[in-house]
Point group: C2
Chain length 202, copies 2
């Protein structure tokens, strides 16, 4: 049994991730903290440090925290780009940077990207661009991690549990069960893979 | 003959790009403005707007402007990440966003990424991550551009002309002649391709 911190645990992907963690001790955190063990702001390194120090020993961190703004490229504002770059890209890199000082030997980080970088969608340019950045980051930074620590990304399509929210803007996409995304997170936590992007698509 | 604006024209890649533009009218710009027709700061949309208004009619914009900071991931500071994200990613997206209001019908944008996202290198994590973002951005935003406007990225390995600077940190990489990178930019300007990443590697 490993201790796994799930950041963004109250979101649909966080909930899906936890479907794969039944064999582990799960600690939950989110931006609002509602219904979670901890409150954390991934864009603030001090907030991340406080989370990791409060938890103590842990073996894995799962990030399901990747806030994106959606708009046509021509109307994306600087604020929307900044919110997406900070929320989806910088915030997740912060988790790894700060987490490295606290995670156990042989631990793992699993980040979240999203299918829009390989299946582009109208109004999805910021999500796509930052998902491409996360997939690249994971593949490249894996070589730098010390102490047997691993890093991977889960790149899911839309999940059935979120179809009522996103379905209308995603014609032609086949939603997958959240439990299948949970399997991908589980494999990242429990296997030996590193530097991989696990696509979950139908 | 097309009018082509080369941003970052005084750098090694900008010089390489211009080797492919002998048949065109070339307008040069760079951050310092030294030896160029114009001075421009790609992180400042007003500066870009002023450049495009000063030039008047143009058919293509080439960006060879992608400042990156190099360090091991564990020692990358927030300032280094921010400088790279602004310089290599946001600045180039700004060129497209602002340029769209000024470029001729059927015009083209060609951005610069770099081989480190597919051939990772120690201390290259910020360059790699933002290059992955640029490659993704180009592939996805191409579908959104109006008026027959195209967009591509050139993703080169190190060029011979820069080998004295980067060679020591890049054992096992084969530099290519800048003229070959110039060919890639020329093809992006003169062909009909869009949403493509042109790798120039050996």
């Amino acid at each position: 049994m490993k201790t796994v911190i799930v950041i963004g645990a109250s979101g649909k992907i966080g909930q899906a991730a936890m479907k794969g963690l039944g064999n582990h001790r799960v600690i939950t955190a989110s931006r609002s903290g509602e219904g979670c063990d901890y409150r954390v702001d991934t864009t603030d390194k001090a907030s991340l440090r406080a989370l990791f120090e409060s938890v103590g020993k842990f073996d894995a961190v799962i990030s399901a925290a990747g806030h994106c703004e959606y708009a046509p490229f021509a109307s994306m504002t600087e604020e929307q780009w900044d919110a997406t770059i900070q929320g989806k890209l910088v915030g997740q890199m912060n988790i790894v940077k700060v987490g490295l000082d606290h995670i156990e030997n042989g631990g793992s980080f699993t980040l979240i990207s999203g299918i829009l970088n390989v299946k582009p969608m109208p109004e999805g340019i910021a999500d796509a661009t930052t998902s491409g950045a996360i997939d690249t980051f994971v593949k490249c930074v894996a070589y730098e991690l010390p102490r047997g620590i691993r890093i991977n990304a889960v790149n899911p399509t839309v999940i059935e549990e979120a179809w009522s929210v996103y379905g209308e803007m995603m014609p032609g996409y086949q939603p997958v069960p959240g439990a299948l995304v949970g399997k991908a997170f589980e494999r990242c936590v429990d296997s030996f893979i590193t530097g991989q992007v696990i696509f979950v698509d139908a």
